[in-house]
Symmetry: C2
Subunit: 305 residues, 2 copies
């Protein structure tokens, strides 16, 4: 929304007629002024399902692969990692540990957490947001101190999951593996949330309606209604307010030990993953997505410079 806000200001300052209405869209779910962002419900549904199924896999094999790490997106906010907590319907269910950028991370704590779960269940399933930070606010990657070298003195490069795997194997002495869904988590239309897709459409429509009714410099927001059952409507916020804010996972959604989520977080995310968006499957058994033809238009303007 920064760009929309800047464009809007520039147009105003130069007297150029331009209507700017922001349509929210980010799986990161970190935009200010809105209950949640279109895209988040679908990534939440998918990563929670991945945590559930890979957890069953670990459970089936836990004499040989006792630790599985699922790395999910979210460099500054832990919303995606937090959503995987929905998969845990009972203490045996994965994920057993969820680490989010909002909670201070340390390898000592990791080792102690992993040992505790192992003792209790004989296996451990960890979800890690890609942007974990230590007590100094530094990302837990190659330069994070004592654990950045393996037993041969080689520097460990790569993401959070590789780092966690290396530390757990060395310090806890169990085999660990990691899954890194990467961009696949943000484009899994084969298992997207119907609620999310409907709300995305609703936001787009609200943006057009707002523009036609003379609004400018606003972003469409999603407003969760009070009362029983989930109901969501749209509103408008100033683009400047959105551009200057950021929404992180609040403290009351993170459990007291900083290694999981609370019931409040589950209640927040549960309505957003409801329903499955329909897709078209072709004769080859795979989904169909459109591609624009990208036809060139005949040039009408003179050279700019």
């Amino acid at each position: 929304m920064d760009t929309a806000g800047m464009l809007n200001k520039l147009a105003k300052d130069t007297g150029y007629e331009l209507v700017c209405i922001g349509v929210p869209k980010t799986i990161d779910n970190d935009l200010a002024c809105t209950d949640h962002c279109p895209g988040y419900g679908s990534v939440a549904k998918y990563v929670a399902t991945c945590a559930m199924t890979a957890g069953k896999d670990t459970e089936a094999l836990y004499t040989t692969d006792t630790c599985t790490i699922l790395e999910v997106m979210g460099r500054n906010a832990g919303w995606i990692a937090a959503a995987t907590g929905l998969a845990a319907r009972c203490p045996e269910d994965s994920p057993h540990l969820i680490y989010m950028p909002e909670a201070v991370f340390s390898f000592d704590k990791l080792i102690s957490d992993v040992k505790e779960v192992l003792k209790r269940l004989g296996r451990v399933f960890i979800v890690a947001g890609e942007g974990l930070k230590d007590e100094n606010g530094q990302y837990v990657t190659a330069d994070s101190g004592a654990f950045n070298k393996d037993s041969f003195g080689h520097v460990q490069l790569g993401g959070v999951a590789e780092m966690l795997k290396a530390v757990i194997e060395k310090e806890v002495g169990i085999k660990a593996r990691f899954n890194k869904l990467g961009t696949n988590q943000r484009c899994a239309m084969h298992f997207a949330s119907l609620t999310d897709v409907n709300e995305a459409y609703m936001c787009g429509k609200a943006a057009v309606d707002a523009a036609l009714s003379g609004e400018n410099g606003k972003m469409v927001t999603l407003i969760r209604q009070d009362g029983n059952g989930y109901k969501c409507t749209t509103g408008l916020a100033e683009l400047s307010d959105v551009a200057n804010g950021e929404t992180k996972v609040p403290a009351e959604y993170i459990n007291e030990n900083g290694k999981g989520i609370t019931e409040a977080m589950k209640n927040y995310v549960r309505p957003l993953v409801q329903g499955q968006a329909p897709i078209t499957i072709d004769d080859d058994g795979l989904p169909v997505f459109m591609r624009f033809e990208r036809k060139g238009l005949e040039k009408k303007l003179a050279e700019y410079l």
Copy 2:
């Protein structure tokens, strides 16, 4: 099937009455004596869909992330990597390059392949089997020569995808990212092939029927029928024949440059991914899977030793 074969031999040699009928099951699809293995159709459907959707993601963003690498399982056989080729319905579609353990891999070839695709499409999507090997049959990982150090002289540890990413960024000069589905590819029941699930059931039933009819030391096989349309029946093979064999992706399924698949491979895998296995979705919007209660039974035997 090795264990089943050994148990069968041991029982026979010692005169112990034991019926051994193997039920095939491996996403790797590398068992001998069978057209394909239960599990493969589902992983094929899922990884092809992941290659398709992540390819659309790269396409949407290709001014900033021009290269995406999808690492899939298959340490010795490239069946899973090969299946992703089904996602490419036209030359623009991902994946653009598929590397399988059956084709000799080299970084010089990779760099040249990537540059060619970039020139043609402005982006590149690569699928890499985890067990890529060089001309000497060595795995392409940390110890693979000139490319195992980054520009700081740090040894690059990790899997194939990390290695490809590092080489492409350094030698081609574009940003690359990788997705590693890991165990999530072999447990994606939320998008499993109905054909595969039905055939798995068929194999289990055939195994029980075979045991009841007095067979021993056999494995159930899947036999693809000749003629129009796909039809599959079961047969039986000697466990010893299965244990001594391995099925790799044959040369006629790999294109002449060793960087993709042929129509023959598509024709082989297409029937296996048909249909979508039904799943139960709970009120929380996520799938439901059972867990055995694992109740302990009262001990009836005397101490063994």
